[in-house]
Amino acid sequence: MSYKTDLPVMLPVKPRALEPFKSLKKRHILLIAFLTIVGPSLVFAQTGEFEKSPLAILLDWTPLLLSGFLFNLVISFGAMALGTLVGGLLGLGQVSLFAPTRASSWLVTQFFRNAPWLVLLFFAMFLLPFELNIFGFKLPLPDWFKAILGLSLPVMANVSEIVRGAVRSLPSGQWEAAESLAYTRRQTLWLIILPQCVKRMLPPWMNLYSILTMATVLASIVGVSEVMTLTGRALAAEGGRTDLLAPFYGLVLVLFFIYCYPIARFTVWLEHKFSVIN
């Protein structure tokens, strides 16, 4: 069985020449917003078919859509936290000296890493009961919570690979130096190896978070009231006007972009910073 990683991000960080980042300016953002929301609204507004302009309607619905987007963020936080916690343990399992632990952690990781996110989400949605019965206590399992569980599975698997890759990417000399100073394996891991890994894990971990955030819209397919679901409902409430599709979904796009883009930039900055220091 091979434990080789296929995560390109985990290759040893190499210093590279500084290159100027392509940086988005305010005008770029305005341009994107215009193209996705305002532009289409204007085109349709000119046809003058309806009494209220698409932009005005969009403004009316914006607070609701924003609250839906917040819900997406809540799901992303929950799934990331849970996935990181369990995935961290799984990743440690993958570097365990005890072969059965190592092999089973590897298997679980590979299984969930190579499964479509949507399928995992469906499994969580439809296999989990709507409430849990724990020692007579009825614990309701709302849909959004199941969505968090479902999305945390692929996050878990990816975090597990990130941890394993980071641990494996440290030079073996670090282990040997620690061993020859009579540190126990556990001490070596917690005092010497993992602190050095955090730096290496941060960029891929944030990258994963970005991907997860964008994947939270999958929850709309299983009926969670997140931004996509609400957008659909808003459109239906407006009578399914086709001229509203572009501005409404455009707003959703812009919301995700505004949220995820800075994260991506920060990730690049971190990678850059660490590669210079190392």
Binding site: G173, S180, Y183, L191
Partner: protein, 249 residues
């Protein structure tokens, strides 16, 4: 059987065999190191020098034979490796300092965490050691901020902080710039003069001649020839030793 520091060798290697898969690396090595001795192991690349000394602190296991360190059998499945490694220090070619810790932390961490020594005492001892390796004022520097020679001296201090009975040095100057080799050799020489038992793998022949009590020449996993430096360098008998020395001197 009790081990006695005065009459028994500190490290006693007997008939050790070691292979990596089908590659035989050590083919019956025997050597003894008495307390306070400095021995140098020299030999061509790939002859098993690193493997041999890594077996002494159980970084490598052996297939057969016996390695006794102060009476502790290394080739014993029930060996307490931590106990062994508290007795045996090691300094590596690549220094292997912990890059996320300062020089001072690198040195005092093991005494505090492994030996459970008091933090204040360990810190005082660590500062003393930094002084000994002539790095006063560098206690808060991170390894990345130190030169190779300085890092290697921190690594030596880190090893000394555990108060080992014997220290293994594996080509500790091989990765250094020529200008900094001297400062590290000087540090080792002072250790040797203080009576520390040292097992060195080195390519620095002049240094070996100066500090070693005994020189061992290895080739293809066996000790071909050994002797005190005066006789070893002057009248080596084996043709392989002669050839090696003629190339390197």
């Amino acid at each position: 059987m009790t081990w006695s520091a005065t009459s028994d060798p500190m490290v006693s290697i007997k008939n050790v065999y070691k292979s990596f898969g089908s590659l035989d690396v050590l083919n019956g090595v025997t050597l003894d190191v008495m307390k306070g001795d400095v021995i140098c192991i020299i030999g061509p690349s790939g002859s098993g020098k690193s493997t041999l000394i890594r077996c002494i602190n159980a970084l490598n296991d052996i297939q057969s034979g016996s390695i006794l360190v102060e009476g502790l059998e290394v080739n014993d499945p029930n060996l307490d490796k931590l106990e062994l490694r508290k007795k045996v220090g090691m300094v590596f070619q690549q220094y292997n300092l912990f890059p996320h810790k300062t020089a001072l932390q690198n040195i005092m961490m093991a005494p505090v965490r492994v030996l459970k020594q008091n933090k204040k005492t360990s810190e005082a001892a660590a500062l003393e050691l930094l002084k000994k390796v002539r790095l006063e004022g560098k206690e808060n520097a991170y390894p990345g901020e130190l030169s190779g020679g300085q890092q290697q001296r921190v690594a030596i201090a880190r090893s000394l902080a555990m108060q080992p009975d014997v220290i293994l040095f594996d080509e500790v100057t091989a990765a250094l710039d020529p200008e900094t080799v001297g400062e590290v050799l000087q540090t080792i020489k002072e250790l040797a003069e203080d009576g520390m038992t040292c097992i060195l793998v080195t390519h620095e022949m002049a240094f070996a001649r100066e500090v070693a009590d005994h020189i061992y020449f290895t080739d293809r996993g066996i000790i071909v020839e050994h002797g005190p430096p005066e006789t070893f360098f002057k009248d080596a008998k084996d043709p392989r030793t002669r050839e090696f020395l003629s190339q390197i001197l």
